[in-house]
C-alpha cells in the first residue's frame, strides 16, 4: 500500500486544489465552532457522552444481549457477523431469500468497510447509494473520501461533468441546484424500482431494541418505507444503553459534524412496519479485540461525526484518499492501524500531534495520544523503517554522552557555515526543500555560559 507521505505529496502538488480542500473543510470546522459556542453546557455534554460510551464499550456483551432480546421481542431479525465476509454473506442471503434484484442504500460507512457494493454486484444485485455525496463517488467508482461528506473533495464543475457523462445533464452545468435536482429525479426512479432498503445505524438502543438513523436528505426513510424489506447494518459499538441517553448524542452529533443543531431527519426504527421485515446485522470485524485493549478501547467511543477530520490540518491538506483506509483522518489512522498494522503503518505518523482532534472530539477520545501509542506499537512490531530506527538510536546514544553531543555541535557550527549551498540543500535534505536551515551561531548556549556567567 502506498504510504501516506507519498500520497499526500501527490495531493499537495496541486496546490490550488489542496488549498481549496483545506478551506472547504475549515469552513465546516468554523460552522461547528459557532454552533458549539452557543451551548454553555457543551463540555458537560461531551463529558456525559464520553462516560456513557465508555460504559457501553466495557459492558458490550451484556448490552448487546439486552439489545438482541428487546429487538427480537419487537419482531426484528438479529444476525451476528464476525467479519466483513460473514456480513456480506448474511446480507446477500437475506436478499436472495426475498429474490431482491435492486437495493437502495443510505448512510452506511459500515458497508463501505465491508465492501458490500462490489460483493453484491458480483452476485447480480444492483445497489445504489442514495445519499447524494455517496452516489457521486459511486458514479465515479470510488470510495468516499470523508465519512460525513463523502464527496467533499470533488468540485461542483467536476460533478457537472460527471453528471453530463452518466446522467445526460447539460454540458458545462455546475449550478448545485440544477445538479441536485437532476440527481433527485434519477434517484427517485431508483427508489421506486428497488425491492429492499439498506441503512446504517447511528445509535442502537439497548433498553428498547430500537435504533436511530440520522440523515439530512430523508432518504433512509424513503428507502425503507417504500420497501417491504429493511436491512440495517451496524458495528457492535454503535450501542447506547437507554433511550434517555439519545438526546445527548443527537445534540453532539450534528453540531460536531456540520454545525447544525440537529440533523434534518432522525429516524427511529422500533420493529418492522406492518407486512414488512426488518433485519439487523451486528458486525464485529475486530471491534471486540479493540474493546479488550486498554490503550485503544476508547477509540470505540467514536460516533463518526467527522469533526476530527475537519479539524485535522493534515487531513485537510492531504485529502481522504491519502489514508488508503475506509475511515480517514485521526480516528481512521487509529482504527486502520488496529485493523491491519502493517498495511497502515504510516498512518499514525501522518500527524503533527497538534491535538486539535482530541479537543474537538464530542466523545472525548484522546486521539493524539492513541496515535502516539500506535507509533510505539509499530516500533515494537518492527514495522518502523530502518532509517528512522537507526537515526533515533544514534541520537539517543549521542544525547547520553554530553561531551560527544557538545563535540558534534561544535563541529557542525565550525563546518556547516562554510559548506557550499548544494551540499546542505540537496534531495537528501527534506528540511531544506522548501525551508532554510537555521544559521549556525558562533557558540552554543553552554559555551556562552562558561564564558560569561559567574559560577556561584
Amino acid at each position: 500500500m502506498p504510504s501516506h507521505p507519498k500520497l499526500a505529496n501527490e495531493f499537495v502538488k496541486d496546490k490550488e486544489r489542496a488549498k481549496w480542500h483545506d478551506q472547504s473543510l475549515w469552513f465546516v470546522r468554523s460552522k461547528r465552532d459557532k454552533a458549539v459556542h452557543q451551548l454553555p453546557e457543551w463540555e458537560l455534554l461531551r463529558e456525559q457522552a464520553s462516560k456513557i460510551k465508555s460504559y457501553v464499550v466495557s459492558h458490550l456483551p451484556d448490552l448487546l444481549e439486552e439489545f438482541e432480546k428487546n429487538a427480537k421481542a419487537k419482531g426484528v431479525h438479529v444476525h451476528w457477523a464476525r467479519d466483513a465476509k460473514e456480513h456480506n454473506e448474511i446480507v446477500h442471503s437475506i436478499l436472495k431469500q426475498h429474490q431482491v434484484k435492486r437495493v437502495v442504500k443510505s448512510k452506511s460507512m459500515l458497508t463501505e468497510e465491508c465492501h458490500l457494493n462490489p460483493y453484491l454486484e458480483r452476485h447480480g444485485i444492483e445497489i445504489v447509494d442514495t445519499d447524494l455525496g455517496e452516489w457521486i463517488v459511486q458514479l465515479q467508482d470510488k470510495p468516499p473520501s470523508h465519512i460525513v461528506m463523502p464527496a467533499i473533495h470533488i468540485k461542483k464543475e467536476e460533478i457537472g461533468e460527471l453528471f453530463h457523462e452518466k446522467l445526460g445533464t447539460e454540458k458545462g452545468a455546475s449550478d448545485p441546484q440544477y445538479l441536485t435536482e437532476s440527481a433527485r429525479q434519477r434517484l427517485r426512479q431508483k427508489f421506486i424500482e428497488a425491492d429492499a432498503g439498506i441503512t446504517g445505524v447511528n445509535f442502537a438502543i439497548a433498553d428498547t431494541g430500537g435504533f436511530v438513523v440520522c440523515t439530512n436528505e430523508g432518504n433512509a426513510d424513503l428507502g425503507t418505507s417504500l420497501n417491504k424489506l429493511h436491512i440495517a447494518c451496524m458495528g457492535i459499538e454503535k450501542l447506547i444503553p437507554r433511550a434517555s441517553d439519545l438526546s445527548v448524542f443527537l445534540r453532539l452529533l450534528a453540531r460536531s459534524a456540520t454545525g447544525q443543531p440537529i440533523t434534518t431527519y432522525s429516524s427511529h426504527f422500533h420493529g418492522p412496519a406492518p407486512d414488512s421485515e426488518l433485519h439487523i446485522v451486528l458486525l464485529d470485524n475486530g471491534r471486540s479485540e479493540i474493546a479488550d485493549s486498554d490503550e485503544f478501547r476508547r477509540s470505540l467511543n467514536c460516533i463518526r461525526c467527522g469533526a476530527c477530520m475537519n479539524t485535522c490540518p493534515v487531513y485537510r491538506r492531504s485529502g481522504g484518499y491519502s489514508y488508503s483506509n475506509t475511515v480517514p483522518g485521526p480516528i481512521g489512522s487509529i482504527l486502520g492501524a488496529a485493523h491491519d498494522t502493517k498495511a497502515n503503518s504510516s498512518l499514525p505518523f501522518a500527524c503533527s500531534l497538534c491535538a486539535s482532534c482530541t479537543d474537538v472530539c464530542p466523545v472525548k477520545i484522546d486521539l493524539h495520544h492513541q496515535l502516539l501509542t500506535w507509533r510505539k506499537e509499530i516500533r515494537l512490531k518492527g514495522l518502523l523503517p530502518l532509517s528512522k530506527r537507526l537515526s533515533m538510536k544514534m541520537m539517543s546514544w549521542m544525547m547520553q554522552a554530553p561531551r560527544l553531543y557538545q563535540f558534534v555541535g561544535k563541529m557542525a557550527r565550525k563546518i556547516v557555515p562554510y559548506l557550499p549551498r548544494f551540499l546542505v540543500y540537496n534531495p537528501f535534505n527534506a528540511w531544506g526543500k522548501q525551508r532554510e536551515l537555521p544559521d549556525m551561531p558562533k557558540q552554543s548556549f553552554r559555551e556562552w555560559m562558561k564564558q560569561n556567567h559567574d559560577r556561584k
Binding site: 507521505p5 499526500a8 505529496n9 499537495v12 489542496a18 483545506d22 475549515w26 465552532d33 458549539v36 459556542h37 454553555p40 457543551w42 479539524t311 490540518p313 493534515v314 491538506r317 492531504s318 505518523f349 500527524c351 503533527s352 500531534l353 497538534c354 491535538a355 486539535s356 479537543d359 502516539l372 507509533r375 510505539k376 509499530i378 516500533r379 515494537l380 518502523l384 528512522k388 533515533m392 538510536k393 541520537m395 539517543s396 544525547m399 547520553q400 554530553p402 553531543y405 555541535g409 557542525a412 557550527r413 527534506a430 528540511w431 522548501q434 525551508r435 532554510e436 536551515l437 537555521p438 549556525m440 551561531p441 552554543s444 548556549f445 553552554r446 559555551e447 555560559m449 556567567h453 556561584k456
Partner: protein
C-alpha cells in the same frame, strides 16, 4: 532565600538558538531568581518518543530526573519539551516519588513567570505588531491558553504579558491556533504537508500585519522562520523570551 531554579535548555536551543537561553536566564535573574544551568543536560528525548522509540528515551528520561531532581523548580523556554517531561515520562517511572515531584515543579518559562512569580505586566517598550503563534503542545497539552475547540472561559497569560508591553500590539489571526506543521520528525517525514501548513500560517500572519512573529517554542519558529527566509518575507522571528528580555 530565592528559590533555586534549574534552567532546562532544550538541546536544539542550546546548539542553534543560544540567544533564547541567554534571554531566559536574563529574565529569571531580573526577577531575583537564583538560576543554575546544569551542564550535563542534553535532550529530554522527545524526538525519539514521538517516533515511537521508547527504548531510546528511557536512559534520557532517567538522566533528566537525576540532573534536575534537586532543584526547587525546573524552568524551560519550550512548552513542547516541558510537556514531554510532565506528560510523557510517566511510563518510564512507575511509582517514583522523585519523578512525581519533578513533574509538579517543571514549568514552561511564561507559565513560571505568570503563575508562580505572579507577574502580570512587563515594563519596557516594544513598538511592533507582534504575531503570537500558539504552539500546540503548550496550548493543548499544558493548557497555557484556551484552545479554540473548547467551550471555556478564554484565557492566555503569555498574550496578556505581551499586551502589557508599551507599544506592542498583538495581531488578530483568521485561524487563531492552528498547527504550524513542525511536529518534530513530522517536518521531515511529511515534508509536503508540513511545509504547506507552515506556509499557511505565515500567510495568516502576513494578512494580519505581523512584523515580529513570536511563540513559546523555538521549534515551531525554526520551521516558520525557514519558510519566511526561503520566501523572503518581511517578518522577523523572535522567541517570546527575547522580546521580554529586550523590555527589561
Amino acid at each position: 532565600m530565592a528559590p533555586q531554579v534549574g534552567l532546562f535548555i532544550p538541546c536544539y536551543v542550546d546548539q542553534l538558538y543560544p540567544q533564547v537561553g541567554i534571554a531566559s536566564l536574563k529574565i529569571l535573574e531580573h526577577f531575583g531568581i537564583d538560576v543554575e544551568y546544569p551542564e550535563s543536560q542534553t535532550c529530554c528525548g522527545q524526538p525519539m518518543a514521538n517516533t515511537g522509540c521508547t527504548n531510546e528515551v528511557v536512559p534520557l528520561a532517567k538522566r533528566f530526573l537525576e540532573i534536575f531532581k534537586s532543584y526547587d523548580a525546573v524552568v524551560c523556554p519550550s512548552g513542547s519539551c516541558v510537556s514531554m517531561v510532565k506528560h510523557h515520562y510517566d511510563e518510564y517511572f512507575s511509582e517514583n516519588k522523585e519523578y512525581d515531584e519533578l513533574k509538579a515543579k517543571t514549568y514552561e518559562l511564561c507559565d513560571y513567570l505568570t503563575s508562580v512569580l505572579e507577574i502580570k505586566t512587563l515594563a519596557g517598550r516594544f513598538p511592533h505588531k507582534v504575531g503570537l503563534h500558539q504552539s500546540c503542545h503548550g496550548l493543548r497539552e499544558l493548557r497555557l491558553a484556551s484552545s479554540s475547540e473548547l467551550v471555556k472561559e478564554p484565557f492566555g497569560p503569555a498574550r496578556e504579558l505581551l499586551e502589557s508591553i508599551e507599544g506592542l500590539e498583538v495581531t488578530q489571526l483568521q485561524r487563531a491556533d492552528e498547527c504550524c506543521g513542525f511536529g518534530g520528525t513530522f517536518a521531515v517525514a511529511e515534508e509536503a504537508v508540513s511545509c504547506m501548513m507552515g506556509e499557511d500560517r505565515v500567510h495568516d500572519h502576513e494578512q494580519a500585519g505581523t512584523e515580529v512573529l513570536t511563540a513559546l517554542d523555538m521549534s515551531c519558529l525554526m520551521h516558520l522562520d525557514g519558510i519566511i527566509r526561503r520566501q523572503k518575507k518581511p517578518i522577523r522571528v523572535m522567541h517570546i523570551s527575547e522580546i521580554f528580555a529586550e523590555c527589561l
